[in-house]
């Protein structure tokens, strides 16, 4: 139930965040044209259909914040951790139902506050989702740094509390409530990723909380943690001795693990979906666990690659370059293992499977450009350009959202007891996949042409005039990709009531959630909790009649378990 709450809230936030991106793409492509739709949606922020620069930055900021935290953190791992952890490890429920409920309601309240900041007098927070001070700390620096920023900080603080409560609960549940026989090396990879994601969250979110708290102090109590020697709007501030760079360190100490908090659950979901629909064990199960562990560990010592050109000591930059490029190794292992799982498989192209293959493709495409950006010497010239925007949208945005879609299509029958429509799923996948690349491949070229991100218009620089056609292409694909999400929304809500009734195990999968009855009951299983006798990837195992052997099926005489 809590999973569904997270999912539906996440989808609603996703609609809001996606719509914002369409609006600012309009502005970027047609900076001189007037759009009635803008003034009707944005009111005074788009007088006569022309967007205000502050609103542009506000939309960019809110799009980033909502997508990163509300959709891909809470919406993705909140949904699937709550749904799958008890069901896949064979537990009656999460360790603490109460913490679970709190984690959702903190998230819900923080969502409402975040959205409400769009409607305040001076507009929403507009300093970018990274809210670097002093821009975010001094209300006179820009309109969005007034009430909008206050609400942003309050909302994020509540969000972090909710996220921590959830994460602690996931960790405790996975460690303590596994059913008999469910050793750590028999856990589905989904659970492994949720487990590491929760650990990352517990270790890094408090640091963002402290950054937010110190920023609140700087804004309201006159402290100078992040401020020094500043004159804004003709007024000299008293603050002395603080450093905005300190904020960047605190922010990215969360910020970088955060991207793995986003991507790991998507990778876990994909592992499960690809294995099931290849009718074949996931290739290199232990290597997959090893690479998840390696990625999780490395994610804590790479945050400085966001700060190569902040004036940080170049030696420190070298260290971060070294650790950052190392991440390519476990990531490469994962990509190769996915491909080998497909090899000699019997591929069943459900919409979930298509989205998972899409994820592998975007994870590779976006991961590779990370080798450019992680290299401090190259970062100098592409830092904060559209190249970065293209990179992180592909590797983290697209991959994670594809993972989320794969999860929704795959576990929809488990959540709602009904099936989603396959054909609409195909339509949704193909248009989304094509437009995703249509948006973000061309964007690399803009960045390599030196086009900075977060520019309200590029028209002030004649050198960017020849990039306008590419901007137009991007916007057309963005619109297309945006519109086709309506198919998904329709399919999602329509199938809740009108979808075909789901059988108990529609995908003929091995994990325990498919051994529970379709109808939701308290405690998940009516009788005894199933006991686990094997790993979750016995697909097409020789010596069995069916091409799948659920985890609760006892070993035959002489049968050997996975190595």
């Amino acid at each position: 139930m809590i999973a569904k709450q997270f999912l539906v809230t996440g989808i609603l936030m996703g609609v809001a965040g996606g719509l914002m991106s369409i609006l600012f793409r309009f502005q970027l492509s047609w900076p001189d044209d007037k759009f009635g739709i803008l003034s009707s949606l944005l009111g005074k922020w788009a007088p006569e259909g022309q967007m205000d620069p502050n609103m542009y930055l506000g939309l960019v900021t809110m799009h980033g914040t909502i997508m990163v935290f509300f959709v891909l953190t809470a919406g993705l791992s909140g949904t699937f951790s709550n749904l799958l952890i008890p069901l896949q490890i064979g537990a009656r429920d999460m360790a603490s139902g109460f913490l679970n409920m709190l984690s959702y309601w903190f998230f819900a309240v923080s969502s409402v506050i975040m959205l409400s900041s769009l409607f305040v007098e001076m507009g929403p927070a507009a300093a970018g989702w990274t809210i670097y001070p002093p821009l975010s700390a001094v209300p006179t620096a820009m309109p969005g740094s007034g009430m909008g920023m206050t609400l942003w900080l309050v909302s994020m603080s509540l969000f972090i509390i909710g996220s921590l409560l959830g994460s602690l609960n996931y960790i405790v549940t996975i460690i303590n409530l596994r059913t008999k026989g469910m050793s750590m090396t028999r856990l589905p990879l989904t659970i492994w990723t949720f487990f590491l994601t929760a650990i990352l969250g517990v270790l890094s979110f408090p640091v963002l909380f402290s950054a937010a708290l110190l920023l609140i102090f700087d804004r309201s109590l006159g402290t100078s943690f992040f401020l020094s020697d500043i004159m804004i709007a003709g007024e000299l501030l008293n603050n002395q001795g603080g450093s905005p760079i300190l904020f960047e360190h605190l922010f990215w100490f969360l910020g970088h693990p955060e991207v793995y908090i986003i991507i790991l659950p998507a990778l876990g979901i994909t592992s499960e979906v690809i294995s099931t629909n290849s009718r074949k064990p996931i290739f290199g199960y232990r290597a997959m666990i090893g690479s998840i562990l390696a990625i999780a560990f490395l994610s804590f010592i790479v945050w400085g690659h966001h700060m190569f050109i902040t004036g940080m000591d170049p030696f420190l930059g070298s260290v971060f370059t070294f650790t950052t490029l190392l991440i390519a190794i476990p990531s490469a292992v994962k990509a190769f293992n996915y491909m080998t799982t497909l090899w000699k498989g019997n591929l069943q192209f459900t919409p979930a499977m298509l989205f998972s293959i899409g994820l592998v493709s975007t994870f590779v495409a976006g991961g590779l450009t990370g080798i450019i950006l992680g290299d401090s010497a190259l970062d100098i010239n592409v830092h904060d350009t559209m190249f970065v925007v293209a990179h992180f949208h592909i590797v983290m945005g697209l991959s994670a959202i594809f993972g989320m879609f794969a999860g929704v299509y795959h576990w929809y029958p488990r959540m709602y007891g009904r099936m989603m429509n396959k054909r609409m799923g195909y339509l949704h996948f193909w248009i989304t996949f094509i437009s995703a690349y249509g948006v973000f491949f061309p964007m690399h070229f803009l960045g390599l042409a030196g086009l900075p991100r977060r520019y309200f218009t590029n028209a002030e620089f004649p050198m960017f005039d020849e990039l306008q056609d590419i901007n137009l292409i991007i916007t057309v694909f963005a619109l297309l990709g945006g519109i086709v999400q309506l198919v998904f929304l329709f399919n999602f809500f329509y199938s809740m009531w009108r979808g075909a009734k789901a059988p108990q195990n529609p995908w003929r999968a091995n994990t325990l959630e498919w051994t529970a009855p379709v109808a939701h009951i308290h405690g998940n299983w009516p009788g005894e909790i199933p006991e686990v006798h094997r790993w979750p990837y016995d697909y097409s195992k020789p010596g069995h009649d069916e091409d799948f052997v659920p985890q609760n099926v006892p070993m035959k005489d002489g049968e050997v378990g996975h190595s």
Partner: protein, 345 residues
Amino acid sequence: MTGLLTALIIILAVLTILQIIRIYELSGDLNKEKSYLTTYDDNNRQGFYLLLFGIAIVASLIWMMIAWDEILLPQSASEHGVETDALMSISMGLILVVYFTITPILFWFSFKYRGLKDTKATYYEHNNKLELIWTSVPTVVLAVLIIYGLTVWSNTMSPENEEDPMRIEVYAQQYKWTARYAGSDNNLGYANVRLIEGANVLGLDLEDINSQDDFSPMEIHIPVGQPVLFTFRSQDVMHSAYFPHFRAQMNCVPGMTTRFQFTPTITTADMRKDPDVIGKVERINAIRAEAGNEPYEYDYLLLCNKICGSAHYNMQMNVIVETQADYDAWVLEQQSIIQTLAANN
């Protein structure tokens, strides 16, 4: 009007999609199939689509690389930038080789092993030898890239100077740049926002002996081949001084001074004769003529690349690289900040 039309198009698109869905549903009912399970037919079709997509994505990336090569930044106009570009080409080449290898394999496997009637999956858990290969090969390649990258990084950030580089301060504020030259003593006078008063907009310490010959021109002029040590200050929020043509960038952080040194190697005049640049300017001017804008002339630019407020998108300053003789003549025309302040009073 455009707005209305756009809204209309969106609504029509939605209606079309809904109709398509309806048709799909009805045809599904007719066939009495279990509409949610994949059939051999589905697998066949989707596998084929995936193969097509794989070909299309590789082809379109190649097309983009050819068609849009001309919009990229022209050759680097700084000494270290040549090294940066070489590293960039090698890294790009490497990732493209990997991409153009993996993508076809991924989509080919998807097609080849699509679940048809007779397809059987092979039970295959792992292969230590394979896994060792694809762990160690990336490790070796990355080790080379890391060492190469760090060499370039260290050459860029800590260049060896035979003699003192010329000092120029770039001062950032919402939403403009101000340059300050160290003058003939090549020492910048002390400055702080707390000393800003009236026309002394940079907060220069007028008593400081080093301040006396500092001057503040409207554009940055640099003699070609002269190493320049830029120092950066910000008055209000964070900015980022981005010189794309020189492959140089450094943040401007209030409360501290940051620095970046580079040596320009091509004068603005020479760069305008570069064939790539000539082509670029021609294309841009064709676009501008059509829109009724005045023609564009190629210049090196300093722009802001860290979100800094509402007019962040328009914070620019020209950078002119010229011969030593032209530069010397230009310097003679400059009035020191202290002289300007005195003249104002």
